[in-house]
């Protein structure tokens, strides 16, 4: 997707159009939050149920702005080395052995082996050193999975946008990246980190929005089928399943039906493809007990026990 709008952040409407051009339907609150994040230079913290498109925001932002997406996937035990930078030891040793044969001076050697060419950028440093012209998009995904120590370290980076490598000096971001943090709320984040960020809870889409997402993202689906998929998904979300289906499931479901050549959603079709939508056996049993016809009809009392 080429970068078309020269100033996508000037108004909320233009930002919404930019997102739409990248096939992402952003509601006004999301577009406004993205705009504020750019204007204020603050990171965004996005929370929401799994599969509502939190990670997608960062991907689309980078596509729409035609700037690289730098992704840091958090996990338990993630440490500063993996996130920031590392020296390329193997190359350093090789270089030293060669330098020995060339009788290079010690001072010179020391200077070369700790130079840029032996530095491996990890996501955070890469985002800070991004040369521009537009800032990169830094996605810190599932930050709640990382340890608390790492969060403190992250806080420091996100407030200064600078990193010191002892052997090389300090790098300060010429173009501070757009930062998107996502969290699944497996634990409470550090208060200080939360205060640094603009917060937005992303909810399941409204029926109109969901229909539009299907039509846009799964070409080939007819309007009638998209409408009945939407009705069924909205009904399913009213049931207290262990895992409620998100937008990702809606899209998988639409693609599955399309692939099977089904143009009309019948109870049999729903039950045959239930595994695409519901991911636990208990939930599928529950669906059978509730009755697939009621789901397709969009029964409003479906959630009642």
């Amino acid at each position: 997707m080429p970068h078309t709008d020269p100033a996508p952040f000037s108004t909320v409407e233009r930002l919404q159009d930019t997102f739409a051009a990248a096939d992402y339907i952003a509601d006004r609150a999301l577009a406004l939050t993205v705009k504020l994040a750019a204007d204020l230079g603050k990171p965004m913290l996005l929370e929401g149920e799994a599969g509502v498109g939190k990670t997608e925001v960062a991907k689309v932002l980078s596509r729409a702005l035609d700037t690289p997406l730098i992704r840091l996937q958090c996990y338990e035990g993630l440490d500063a080395n993996t996130a920031l930078y590392e020296w390329n030891y193997a190359r350093q040793i090789l270089h030293i052995r060669i330098a020995e044969q060339d009788h290079e001076s010690r001072a010179h050697l020391e200077k070369t082996i700790f130079s840029d060419q032996f530095l491996l950028d990890r996501p955070l440093l890469a985002a800070i050193r991004h040369p521009g012209p537009r800032p990169a998009v830094l996605l810190i995904d599932e930050v709640d999975r990382a340890d608390e120590e790492f969060e403190a370290f992250l806080l420091e980076i996100l407030s200064e946008y600078q990193v010191t490598v002892p052997e090389l000096g300090t790098f300060k971001a010429a173009h501070p990246p757009y930062v998107v943090l996502t969290s699944n709320r497996t634990r409470e984040l550090n208060d200080a980190l939360k205060r640094r960020c603009l917060y937005l809870w992303i909810d399941y889409p409204s029926p109109e929005k969901e229909r539009e997402i299907i039509l846009r993202r799964v070409p080939g689906v007819k309007a009638g089928l998209a409408a009945s998929i939407t009705t069924a998904m909205q009904a399913l979300r009213r049931v207290d399943f262990y895992k409620r289906p998100g937008v990702a499931e809606t899209l998988d479901f639409s693609r599955a039906l399309l692939g099977l050549g089904i143009d009309e959603l019948t109870p049999e079709a729903l039950l045959d493809t239930a595994g695409v939508v519901l991911k636990y056996r208990d939930d599928i049993d529950r669906l059978k007990a509730l009755g697939a016809e009621r789901v397709i009809a969009g029964d409003l009392d479906l959630g009642e026990r």
């Binding site: 913290l45 035990g77 020296w87 497996t186 939360k194």
Partner: protein, 368 residues
């Protein structure tokens, strides 16, 4: 906007932010400044944009978003009297259905569960009286419990001079100063993998006698494992994790007392487990989670529901521990129907009613 009108607008906005702070939203000076900076980049005459811009800057959780929206609605409709806001028990039930005319009365009605018991109606509990400052310290027993339950060796390593493995990467780096000749070796040992803890505490009337122990345990475990989450239940479920992080015990107890309106209510263990399974556990537990239930097992719900939800929980977490203060004494027979229904799914049943008995049962627990 004229200068006067702008002044008026800004001071009204500030009043709104103060109102948000009074509603327990963490409005700090830094956030306030950013919120006002945000006004520059939006169209302030668009009420919706104005709300979202302020909200994004001031809140940091979904519950706070909802609180802010309520404060905002009230502010717009000119409700001036300072009112005590408190977060809803489960915020979702309130948002959509309330629409624009939120009233305190409606909220009370809407949050009443179908199976409420009369005692569960709103009340302030003075927990200070139930906090026993002179109780023997529980920290040691809790630390031991946390260590047994919540740590296990990870595949990853960390630096450790007495470690058994040699860490090549660090060795190389350390020996650059010796011209890459391996003079000293860096060693590594396995990291300890921290487990997440989810605690479900029974605060119904039948547990009143054990409140001092319960509160101690809640504090102790939350302190020992900072990433754990604590929920209390009687006929409703309330998460108190954030409240347990307050600086002082007094502050925490006051907060919990005014937030948890169902303290000393009836018991519905099955419903509480169901909410746990669909809430905190669904939000991403992973196999490394340990669930601790602290309850006497006396229940006025359906034991079959308990069995079903325990079975589900069993599949979602690594270990289920049940601490039951009732059986700490001499009678060891399981009479409560709820307890009987749950027992087949419990990995470790700990009869403990104070710090001392907890220490003893934890010692018997063995490595998990």
């Amino acid at each position: 906007m004229s200068a006067e009108a702008a002044d008026e607008f800004l001071s009204r906005t500030l009043a709104l932010c103060r109102r948000a702070k009074a509603a327990k939203i963490d409005v700090t000076p830094g956030r306030l400044i950013d919120a006002f900076r945000a006004l520059d980049s939006i169209d302030c005459f668009n009420v919706e944009d104005f709300r979202v811009a302020l909200r994004a800057n001031l809140v940091s959780s979904r519950e706070e978003e909802q609180t802010f929206d309520r404060v905002f609605e009230d502010f717009l409709s000119g409700v001036e009297e300072a009112r005590q806001y408190r977060p809803g028990i489960r915020g979702e039930s309130m948002q959509g259905s309330l629409g624009h005319h939120y009233k305190e009365m409606d909220q009370e009605v809407l949050t009443l569960p179908e199976n409420f018991s009369a005692e569960a109606l709103a009340r302030d509990v003075d927990l200070m009286h139930r906090w026993d400052a002179a109780a023997p310290p529980i920290e040691q027993a809790v630390r031991e419990l946390a260590r047994r339950l919540a740590t296990r060796p990870s595949r990853r390593t960390r630096e450790d001079r007495r470690g058994r493995r040699i860490d090549l990467r660090r060795s190389v780096r350390r020996n650059t100063r010796h011209g890459m000749d391996m003079v000293e070796l860096a060693r590594a040992a396995r990291r300890t993998r921290k487990t997440r803890l989810v605690m479900l505490c029974d605060v119904s009337g039948s547990m009143d006698a054990f409140n001092p122990f319960l509160l101690q345990l809640m504090f102790g475990l939350q302190q020992a494992l900072k990433s754990s989450r604590t929920l209390v239940f009687s006929t409703q479920v309330t998460e108190v994790t954030a409240l347990l992080r307050r600086r002082t015990v007094t502050e925490t107890l006051r907060e919990i007392g005014s937030t948890v309106r169902h303290w000393s209510g009836g018991t519905n263990i099955g419903a509480a487990l169901a909410e746990l399974n669909r809430g905190v556990i669904r939000e991403g537990a992973g196999s490394a989670t340990v669930a601790i239930v602290i309850s006497d097992g006396y229940d006025n719900g359906d034991p079959r529901l308990i069995a079903r939800e325990m079975e589900t929980l069993r599949r979602r977490v690594r270990t289920i521990v049940w601490i039951n203060p009732m059986y700490g004494a001499s009678t060891f027979r399981v009479r409560a129907a709820g307890m009987r229904a749950a027992l087949p799914f419990v990995d470790h049943f700990l009869p403990a009613f104070d710090a001392k008995s907890l220490k003893i049962v934890v010692r018997e627990l063995g490595e998990i």
